[in-house]
Amino acid sequence: MPEVIELAGVGVMAGETPILRDVSVRLDARRIAVIGANGSGKSTFARLLNGLVAPSAGTVSVHGMDVARQARQVRERVGFVFTNPDAQILMPTPAEDLALSLKGRGLSRGQIAERVRTELARHGLADHADQPAYSLSGGQKQLLALVAVLIREPRLIVADEPTTLLDLGNARRMADLLIDGIDAQAVIATHDLELAGRCDVALRFEGGRLLEVGEPGAVIAHYRAEFAAR
């Protein structure tokens, strides 16, 4: 399957108000940044890609699959990382949380435990495997949330502001992982313009419209210019 994301004439309504209008775009870049003001539609765009939001008009296809009609397969293939890791960590401890991600894949308990240890070790979380997840630091939680997604080996990772709560060091580490450390395609909605600048292509939203798609440096410069002008 080609790793292409394609939206054709997509609109999204919240009740009576349109929150995304007539978005058409074809994306085959590996690292895709999504930028724009608060309420411009970044999160809505991101959520379209795994069916958390359904379009009221148009079609969304991810890697050749229609998100509306092949919801199950799309969910298997698309991993989603939210801003707030607290909402995403669903089990009391990191080890249990990763094990949850591996459920229903026909793995034995032993195999799951094995895999969980490997992944925790790889991301420097081995020492925290059985500690209550809520007592992890913000950076560790954010990392755990991402690992819980990566362990399912998605082909597309969608991340909604993955670095917002992190300091320079943790944000850099998370960015390195998303940009260079993973094999899958990635869509990253973010206010962190340094992170956006490291992507291959950037989308800029404004008031529910896709204003611009292009080389990140240029798109970010336009975005900045718009605020400087005000």
Partner: protein, 197 residues
Amino acid sequence: MISLYRPGRSPLHRLPAEAKIVGMAVLALAISLWPHTPVTATGTLLGVLVLFALGGFGPREWARQLWALRWLVVFMAGTQLLFLGTEPALVNTVRVVSVVLLAGVLTLTTRSEEMLDVVERALRPLARFGADPWRVAFTLSLTIALVPVIADFGRRVREAQRARGVRLGVRAVVPMLVMSLRHADDVADALSARGIA
């Protein structure tokens, strides 16, 4: 989360949870239905204390458990003395305390995780009627994972009151609840994004 379970290696600790539950049910029923005299009632209580000893719990634990039941004892003994007289009051109170303590032994010697597994297994026959044992077990562990998160909302609301120099009293439940319900929507999104429910 802290459990009432006390780790140990006694025979009672090693007994499978199901066996303990069935055993406890049978014993509790027997204790409850037996027409007690003050002597048999006291004998029963002593028998339960022997079970505690079997689980490795000495007089300290007896005292602690009895202390936890002080209001029950006061309430029962009080009303029964008032309505029924001395002997029934003694018999009934001792009998009920025995049954409650008996159940306490089980809780002290069985891990919560093991009990959770029992719940999941017990639900399996109900799968035919649309109950999903895994979902039930998952909801239970999700709740455990969420308690500290929600408690933290409470802490933040308390701090906000202090920082703003205001006191809401019971009304403080409102912002806590609004935050919690919004959090529930985020968790629901995560459940669906992670392909869980």
